[in-house]
Symmetry: C2
Subunit: 237 residues, 2 copies
């Protein structure tokens, strides 16, 4: 059984069988459930995803499950090998570089657009998040820092007033979830202070609504994250 080598059956079930029945469409439920399951990193890279087992676990037939797998493959979370089933997509260093570059481009866009549309109240909210994050930084509370960091970037994306951008951002963000968390652990060692300073520049440019400048800061912020992430991966094969 390749799925969940280090997770118990029970935990699989609890994670994989929300199936609330609220979405109306079984296919959609499977899709969001499986996506969450994958994004949360419950399966190791490259693990096989046998249809039969998943069907029994989730209590559905193969048809809607296969539809969900195709969509997840299109999203880049799983890999479909002809006649050989689905695997958890493993990202190599080049994939991660590309993902961070695209994320940087999207964040740069979000920053630029946010400066055109953001309200004073939203800026105040981001300020508050920023100060909370700084407090977490001083406390060396990495999980809190990480969560607030995500919230700030999401708030900037939300201020861009572009639903397609927000969706695309969420899509790529989910792919990077695990590696980014690890990268931030790496920050813990030597890049954390630098990242915090970058965030001060981000807030400052946002307050001035300096779109181009914020755009550039965000892009380089993401590139620095990428370097940290790849360094982490290099050290932890």
């Amino acid at each position: 059984m390749a799925i969940a080598d280090d997770a118990t059956e029970a935990s699989e079930v609890t994670m994989l069988v929300p199936l609330t029945g609220t979405s109306g469409s079984l296919h959609d439920e499977i899709l969001v459930g499986l996506r969450r399951y994958l994004v949360e990193g419950n399966l190791p890279d490259g693990a096989r995803i046998p249809e039969r087992l998943l069907c029994e676990t989730m209590g559905v037939s193969r048809t809607p499950l296969r539809e969900a797998l195709k969509v997840l493959a299109a999203e880049g979370l799983v890999e479909l090998l002809p006649n050989r089933g689905a695997r958890v997509r493993a990202f190599d260093e080049n994939d991660i570089r590309e993902l961070f570059e695209v994320m940087g481009g999207l964040e740069a866009l979000a920053g630029r657009l946010a400066c055109e549309h953001i309200t004073d109240a939203e800026i105040a909210g981001i300020e508050q998040l920023h100060y909370d994050m700084y407090a977490s930084y001083m406390r060396r509370d990495l999980p809190a820092y990480f969560a607030l960091n995500q919230k700030i970037h999401l708030a900037i994306v939300a201020a861009a007033r572009n639903a397609i951008l927000a969706n695309t951002y969420a899509n790529f963000s989910s792919r990077l979830q695990r590696v980014r968390y690890n990268a931030n652990r790496e920050n813990h060692k030597d890049r954390w202070g630098e990242a915090m300073r970058e965030h001060e520049h981000i807030l400052e440019a946002l307050q001035r609504r300096a779109g181009l400048e914020l755009s550039d800061i965000l892009f380089r912020h993401l590139q620095n994250k990428r370097v940290a992430a790849l360094r982490y991966l290099g050290n932890h094969p």
Copy 2:
């Protein structure tokens, strides 16, 4: 029969039944065939896509077709209404604004990355395309101009050395294909010269490998295209 109100059955068939059998996976063939069919604008906005008819037309069963439809829905080309089937997704003005903004962000990113990686030979190639495009402009040959325009932007994306970016770009580009063509027809009237000048700036910044500058030019180029496209749509409801 809601599908293809103005197209004959025969033309549908010729467009929809390549099914070369080269891809190995029937699902993939249907996917690319349907996507091309939709992108080329063979169906009017909001048209119903009855599964049964498509199955008979393409000679496949509903299972792989439905899988393809789910993927196309995830890509944003079709819209799936619960229990009410698939429709060609119609983009309103806000969708188009959002799409152009994201395209602009992606092109800006591509330009920035391209300046880091592009070779002299690639620049020379783009120069050539640019001059050809200028010739088309002088000849008032809109289709040729349009094709070369696309080639230039694709060359810049290719020079960015980022496959994920290229895929994402292609995805959004396909959604805008129809409206962009119409927008360029609108250019024909009053924005064509301006677009040509913008392209001169693009080439010039690329030659200097001025990443940030090129990034900004490309973004604003796309925003101008957006304005033209929306003006066109405003005039042609």
